[in-house]
């Protein structure tokens, strides 16, 4: 749900990074945080366990600049990937404008990817959204690992509507901004229709 503030001339949009546990959602946000000019970002908040697993969410506010006289502000969130945190995951999808699905390219994580994608679909429906129509981007992360499956194989299993798909190695930043840009673009284009 985009928040348009005519008084302050601001648009606020919410983007959620979804995906199975340890797929690199937090790493995406961390990289964006590290590489963004300090004036354009707020604090990166991580509600994590002592072992650095996301417990509730990570949050990063980003100011991207001005479109048509309106300051555009994106709020990036990650969800906890571990299966048993589903109640928390559901809460974070509330009011989402765009979703990035971060898939783990390793063969051993293929089932987890599919399970997480199905979980995303189900949780979106509970908030009245539809995965078929919501701004959505697929990121195939961990391309640098020797155990990574070929891109074609992943694409066939995970891409379901021809959504923009990016190969990524999040700790090195490969594909991170391309992914963000693609989802931000869809979210802003969506405003055109409203």
């Amino acid at each position: 749900m985009t928040f348009i503030n005519y008084a302050a001339r601001e648009i606020n949009c919410k983007i959620v990074y979804y995906g199975p546990g340890l797929c690199g959602k937090t790493t995406n946000l961390q990289y964006i945080y590290d590489r963004t000019n300090p004036a354009a970002k707020g604090k990166l908040i991580s509600l994590a366990t002592e072992t650095d697993r996301t417990l509730f969410f990570d949050f990063l506010p980003l100011d991207l600049g001005t479109v048509r006289g309106f300051k555009t502000r994106f709020h990036l969130y990650t969800v906890p990937g571990q299966v048993f945190y589903d109640a928390s995951r559901k809460l974070i999808l509330k009011g989402v404008d765009g979703v990035v699905f971060v898939a783990d390219s390793q063969e051993a994580r293929m089932d987890a990817n599919i399970e997480s994608l199905q979980n995303l679909d189900k949780n979106l429906v509970e908030h009245g959204f539809d995965l078929q129509t919501i701004p959505y981007v697929l990121q195939l992360n961990k391309r640098d690992l020797p155990t990574a499956l070929p891109v074609d194989t992943l694409y066939r299993s995970l891409n379901f509507k021809g959504e923009p798909t990016f190969e990524a190695t999040a700790p090195l930043g490969i594909g991170v901004f391309d992914t963000l840009k693609a989802v931000a673009k869809q979210v802003l284009m969506e405003l055109r229709k409203k």
Partner: protein, 164 residues
Amino acid sequence: MSDFILFDEEFRQIKDVIARLKADAQAKVVFIVDKNGQQIAAQGDMESLDTTSLASLTAGNVAATDGLARLIGEREFPVLFHEGERDNVYISVVSQRVILVVIFDERSSLGLVRLRVRKANAELERIFEVIQQKVEAEKSRRLSGFDSPFAEITDEDIDNLFKD
């Protein structure tokens, strides 16, 4: 779900209500966020506060508590109170849609804050009701060809955002 749109007039009214609440409750800071974590308005000494993070964490807090409420068969917990050594935070949900947050210290008291918040809540409910009506009206105007400022967004506009 419809977008949330804030217009000048209501924005001013909201700011007036929370400015009065801040004075009446002798609070340090009063702010309003929507349930998705976007800050709507704030009054008080915000200099030392990271208001964006506050907004997001407040919404997360309310969302988690709402989840808890439903688990035990309540619709929501409309009030949350956190007591600290120096500062306290009083959070209440307005119209099931937005969240009113009051930060206060020993110069005020929980009783006073609770009393003043109740009054402000009623006023805010009315304002958000009007906003809702305006959003609906705006939507039907747009459907009938009203020019939204975003109707003309181009690929180039968006590429420009990512230039550096």
